[in-house]
Symmetry: C2
Subunit: 499 residues, 2 copies
């Protein structure tokens, strides 16, 4: 990696350049050709715009910034310019959203498939085991979810070699950044409407992105189905959350556009303050809960004690709409993703051959560690694989030589731990230089990008009420941080520039 | 003063109450009757709302927060509820705005009046002296301002005893908070639209307040008169400015609504980077300046060296529209305010008897220290007077026993320093309890409020293009901090609840 260049914005739009980067741009946006003074002005304007338009997060260096809104705010990290992206492939990703929505729903109904697929993962991974247990308990009491709400996000990369849009993962829980993602597009439109002529860029090529209004409308529509005017939406949150403004965007939109109130609680608080009425109504802090919307509980650290598991189970048993239900949750695990990629599995859930072909086209290679041919190949050429543990939250993937070492270790141990990993084809997206802005400082460096497409699905018994894409999330990260995953590295929010 | 009660918002809307205050409310909003839990919810919602809607300032405890936008932000201090205010008196204040606008313009044209009135102040106060010198130099070169733009703010208090709306001062320079003031009304409308029914309050009684769009429209209209499509608006700013977002609101509005760019520079930078073309065109950093909009240079500390004075003079000589010009600047001094309050002085500038009566009705008692009767009275009953030095920026006023001591000292010295002060009738606004939120913490305490009304005036030669009120600023401060002035004490932004 060449060293990144750093541009420091000083007062009133002046920024000092520290270093410049060697390297040429292969992109429609010629970053190296942009005048330094122009970059400085744009950075200043972008910072001011972000601050007054709510493109903010909690500042990790300020106490209380992850617990109290309004204190210790800093602009969310963003790319200064939108990322070129083929229009046809955005269309493709948007078309995939309703198909994935339907697939998740169908898979969620096949309890045997979920249980069988996860039976070995369950033994190897205690966290998955607890989730599967909840699922089993719901089967025992024959719990049916008549109203099913899915707010998903499917993440993709554009593979440089094959030029294919390939899926990285499907998130059926806590598909975050819907509040902030649309703002970055607005920021870029605002910048290009003034500076576009100097850059040879047209702001109209940044697509509209109304994720927050579409996803809040989906929550509101589900709330209507629950049909209790006194009901509120429960946001299940982490005790500390620097990304709280992303969530506040959604809850303020729910209030201002749909007149629906929200309640924010941790799992521990729900355990302490919640109760289940005999008719199945969930009541937390005296308020009837229409929808349980999970913005936490997706990693083991969200369940430090039995209290959190008790709350999780207890909500699942209620008549509240869960977003996601335990079945939707399991349908979004990496193991299920890998099972669905096996030959003839999609056919069990979907009828439309075209839909199946579309899904399959975006599947990267996915294998379980039971496949000895693949394991051998991965030991020989680990640089072509990623090893993913059955966990969410990013930052846990294994790359490079560590893939080889881990596989050899697992082989020697002959361990059941095999089942807690899957192998995935490693994607090689284009690396291109761009400007990243974090904590008021602009960096120029090589980056790769990841496209997420939101989808909303709502069903009441036999009736599909909603099944659509809901805009996108573009995240751009230092190419050098690739091995840590977007969440772990220096990732910034970005928008698309359609080509 | 009873001790204030403090309510700490914790995570997810929980706030802990520290103490409660004794005392009854005489206001339509019965603060003491509001349920604690409701207050906690409202505080949390208000903090979240403020953060994503740009009701922010720089946090004094964070480095770079006064120089780089987007870092070290904290919500602007605000009152949780709007402040009851008689509709008739808001109407009165709005009607006064165009009359004051015209008065300032007329006074600004009477060079002899300005020079004579300030002749003694000039000797006593070096800062005023420099300003008057610039005025003299403009007279020498016979500089005429054909396009005159005034963006003023007249500040008032409601005197409890007389029930009169009385003027505190007229700001003809840097009438700040136009960006944030309207947001507080929106925040309160948002809160009352959900919580209003529990409080017995109707959000429709909070008047619209479009200061930022009206004042940016006035700047844009003046820019059009300057008639150079390449011209930009120069914001003359302080090197460090925690209230920068208030200014960014205005400049982003100028850009997004009117496609006019702004340039932010300190006086020292203007001295270094500016030049005057032979035809009088002002050029700073290579850009033609259509309007010089001062958001600094109103206190002596803004002029640490000759460089700043050079820049001030140099801009005054240019053909750019100054907001304000040196004549408008002088017309807004406290000494001129006091001169205008003398019998038969308004009549020199205005013809309309009704207008004159309206202005006079809002004048508090104002006297020079040459008036020995008043000085004697002030020594006897200092609690009925405020001594104001000829300086802007707040926090320099003298109250209580210090009035007596200062007057006696000045009498003994027989000093010329007399002329650097004026005496003003002390106003006694109603003290009422309310909730103030600062740095994420809610306090309940007794407060007093100050209403500012913005006005915009634009004239090109004989043609008056604009003369209107432009919304309001409501500031509420701890009654106990009264003696320090709004700016110095713990003041928060507020809105009006019309009664």
């Amino acid at each position: 990696m060449p060293q990144s260049s750093q541009i420091l914005p000083l007062n009133r739009g002046k920024v000092g350049v520290r270093e410049t980067q060697e390297g040429s741009s292969r992109r429609p946006i010629n970053v190296d050709g942009i005048d330094q003074e122009l970059v400085e002005k744009m950075v200043y304007d972008a910072l001011a715009w972000s601050s007054i338009h709510g493109l903010v997060v909690g500042d990790r260096s300020v106490q209380r910034s992850s617990t109290v809104p309004g204190v210790g705010m800093v602009h969310a990290p963003f790319a200064l310019l939108p990322m070129p992206f083929p229009k046809s492939q955005l269309k493709q990703a948007y078309e995939l959203a309703p198909i994935f929505n339907e697939l998740v729903d169908r898979v969620s109904l096949d309890a045997k498939f979920l249980q069988d697929s996860l039976s070995r993962t369950k033994i190897a991974d205690p966290f998955t085991s607890r989730l599967v247990d909840i699922h089993s308990k719901m089967l025992e009491i024959n719990k049916k979810e008549e109203i099913r709400l899915g707010l998903h996000r499917s993440d993709y990369m554009l593979d440089e070699q094959t030029k294919l849009l390939l899926q990285i993962e499907m998130n059926t829980i806590s598909s975050s950044f819907e509040g902030l993602s649309g703002l970055v597009g607005k920021l870029h439109r605002s910048l290009l409407s003034y500076y576009g002529e100097f850059l040879g860029l047209d702001f109209k090529r940044i697509p509209d992105n109304a994720s927050v209004s579409q996803l809040s409308a989906a929550l509101a529509r589900a709330w209507t189905e629950y049909n209790n005017p006194r009901a509120v939406v429960l946001f299940v949150v982490q005790a500390e959350e620097r990304n709280m403004y992303d969530q506040h965007w959604l809850s303020i939109m729910l209030k201002e556009k749909h007149n629906i109130s929200t309640l924010r609680k941790t799992l521990a608080e729900i355990d302490a303050e919640g109760k289940l009425l005999p008719d199945g109504t969930l009541v937390v802090s005296g308020q009837v809960i229409g929808i349980v919307y999970f913005r936490a509980r997706y990693t083991p650290t969200d369940y430090p004690s039995e209290s959190e598991w008790r709350a999780r189970l207890f909500m699942e048993r209620s008549s509240a709409i869960k977003c996601p239900s335990i079945s939707y949750r399991l349908a979004g695990t990496k193991k299920i993703q890998q099972e669905l990629a096996k030959p003839n599995v999609l056919e069990r859930f979907l009828d439309d051959k075209e839909d199946i072909a579309k899904l399959r086209k975006c599947f990267a290679g996915l294998w379980s560690l039971d496949d000895s041919n693949i394991v051998r190949k991965a030991i020989e050429t680990p640089e072509l694989f990623v090893m993913k543990p059955q966990r969410e939250g990013g930052g846990n993937n294994i790359y490079g030589n560590e893939v080889r070492e881990t596989l050899i270790k697992l082989q020697k141990e002959g361990s059941e731990a095999n089942a807690s990993y899957i192998l995935m084809q490693r994607l090689f997206p284009t690396v291109s230089p761009t400007f990243l802005v974090r904590e008021g400082i602009c960096y120029k460096d090589g980056v790769v990008s990841e496209l997420g497409v939101y989808g909303a699905y709502l069903r009441n018994n036999e009736k599909v009420i909603l099944n659509d894409q809901c805009g996108y999330l573009m995240r751009t990260k230092l190419a050098s941080s690739d091995e840590g995953g977007v969440a772990a590295g220096f990732a910034v929010l970005d928008s698309l520039y359609l080509t």
